[in-house]
Symmetry: C2
Subunit: 332 residues, 2 copies
């Protein structure tokens, strides 16, 4: 029984390529005192990982060259020297892009319940993406019934939850996604009121049509030119949640936002968010999300890549917007 | 007795010139039923007026070609057919760039008390600029004692009050101004902890030196490249009050803000403000400001141009940052 893992081989300049990663065989790690050996079952792929590949100061340090790529995983305990965990326990950890790993029992590990929801949901709608949608919309967006909420990357893990939560709150939910298939899914399956295809080339006109009363809340997952288009259609006293800037992650020169003046003229509030700032309140949000999922009020889809060796391919597809819903790697 | 006034002759493309204005003689206006005829004593010159010269949708409509330039004035009632006003009353109105004007007694007119403060203060520290500083800093900036507050255009009517209020609240107050004379004034007379001369060409380095603990609140009066420099030094969970963008007012192409990503990484809140959104609470702020001025805790300086015919010159000087403190035109 060997470990298999993906390490960062080199830092990308612009677009990520598969050559920025290296697949490695490694010996199975042994749990030290108070540690838990976990076999990973699901690896979550998320846009933020692109940031970790750069040698740039951010809210967390970058992945070092030669180190295992970071990421959340759901797995099963194989061996444990910590009294809180025993073989067979299902756990959420941050063991990264590998099949096995050890984690301190008092560290970043939490039990999850496979009977309450599919295990993969704990890195999706009942995990970081769902929590991001929940806190960003509620705490920064603060949408009131009847207001219009727009979310970019609307078919993705975060965006799909944002729009459905907006509907639950009595708002008009409008998505932005790439291509008719995604837009169709967002409206028909997720129940958004409308979805604009940014690839159609008329984003501003189409958004205006989809948002006859303007935009009160914009949940930003994309950035770049899209920010400028949205700032042009935001209402007075509207709110922008800056959650992700995926359009920026693979460029070497940052986009210059030209509509900064709109923030002044329309008294817009633009605020950045990172979900772990709300760590102390995850329980409250998860209870609410789980109830919505159980009742079918939040629908949820996954894109699954099989095998750790295909993680780079799945990640690049995610960055290019080729995924549909939450992007996962099935490890076992 | 004739009226004299300045009207908008043409819309500027880029920098304002004196030829964008026209000086006119006009007959003395006669008060209609319920109206008050006012002789203006002081005209306030403010950066926002530049925006009114453009034919662009903003929070208020632009000045029409041939119309009197808008602006706040302090004056004396000459004649009144409204029971609330009598000759000799001192009043704050929006009669614009002219010597005389009529206003409805139930319209935009408020009595002011020349015994409590010099009349000109009612368009300065005890008027719109002071209120802008007070609400922007308190309600959006929300500075806590010990935090660092930076304000651009620090020697100006708004900026000078922002920094002094920050000091009163127990913050480190750091100004940004153009040239050593202004910086010296900001530190020695106004009592800021430091002031950085942006004309010295090392804004980011000098700011870092002046703000050893980073920047928690930035009161933005300038915009353009300065926004990017500040976004580079803002702390996690910091706040930016977007109050004015004077660097943008005379350009035809808007500046592209490249550090938008910092808003996400550092969870910065960037919020636009316009003072009249707090109209209902002016009383509370004015009471506080008046007490600070009376006690000498807020110092205040004025730049005075004499005569209505010199208003365009004074306004252009203001836009170029040649003024020192509140820019006024003395009309009588």
């Amino acid at each position: 029984m060997n470990n298999k893992r993906i390490v960062l081989a080199s830092r990308p300049a612009g677009w990520v390529g598969e050559d920025n990663f290296r697949f490695e065989d490694a010996p199975l790690p042994r749990p030290g005192d108070g540690e838990v050996l976990v076999k990973n079952l699901w690896l979550s792929l998320d846009p933020y990982m692109r940031g970790r590949m750069n040698d740039v100061k951010s809210y967390v340090p970058p992945v070092q060259i030669g180190a295992v790529m970071e990421g959340q995983t759901v797995g099963e305990v194989i061996e444990s020297t910590h009294p809180g965990y025993k073989p067979g326990d299902k756990v959420l950890t941050r063991l990264g892009w590998q099949l096995y790993g050890c984690v301190r029992g008092d560290g970043e590990i939490n039990k999850v319940d496979g009977d309450r929801a599919p295990l993969s949901y704990y890195v999706g709608v009942l995990g970081m993406p769902g929590l991001t949608a929940w806190f960003g919309l509620k705490e920064i967006g603060q949408p009131k019934p009847g207001e219009t909420v727009v979310v970019s990357a609307a078919s993705g893990a975060v965006g799909s939850v944002v729009g459905q939560l907006a509907k639950i709150r009595g708002c008009r939910a409008v998505g932005i996604a790439g291509g008719p298939a995604k837009c169709d899914y967002v409206v028909r399956e997720l129940g958004f009121d409308a979805c604009v295809d940014y690839k159609a080339g008329n984003l501003q006109r189409d958004l205006k049509e989809a948002c006859p009363k303007g935009v009160d809340v914009y949940f930003e997952n994309v950035g770049g030119e899209m920010t400028d288009v949205l700032l042009r259609v935001m209402n007075p006293f509207s709110r922008v949640i800056v959650c992700g800037l995926i359009a920026e992650y693979n460029t070497t020169e940052p986009y210059g936002v030209k509509m900064f003046r709109a923030i002044l003229v329309n008294r817009i509030k633009v605020q950045g968010m990172i979900v772990f700032d709300w760590k102390d309140r995850y329980g409250e949000a998860l209870k609410d999300l789980a109830a919505h999922v159980a009742a079918g009020r939040i629908k949820y889809r996954e894109s699954v890549v099989e095998g750790i060796e295909n993680a780079p391919k799945g990640f690049i597809a995610l960055l290019k917007g080729q995924n549909f819903g939450k992007q996962l790697v099935k490890l076992a």
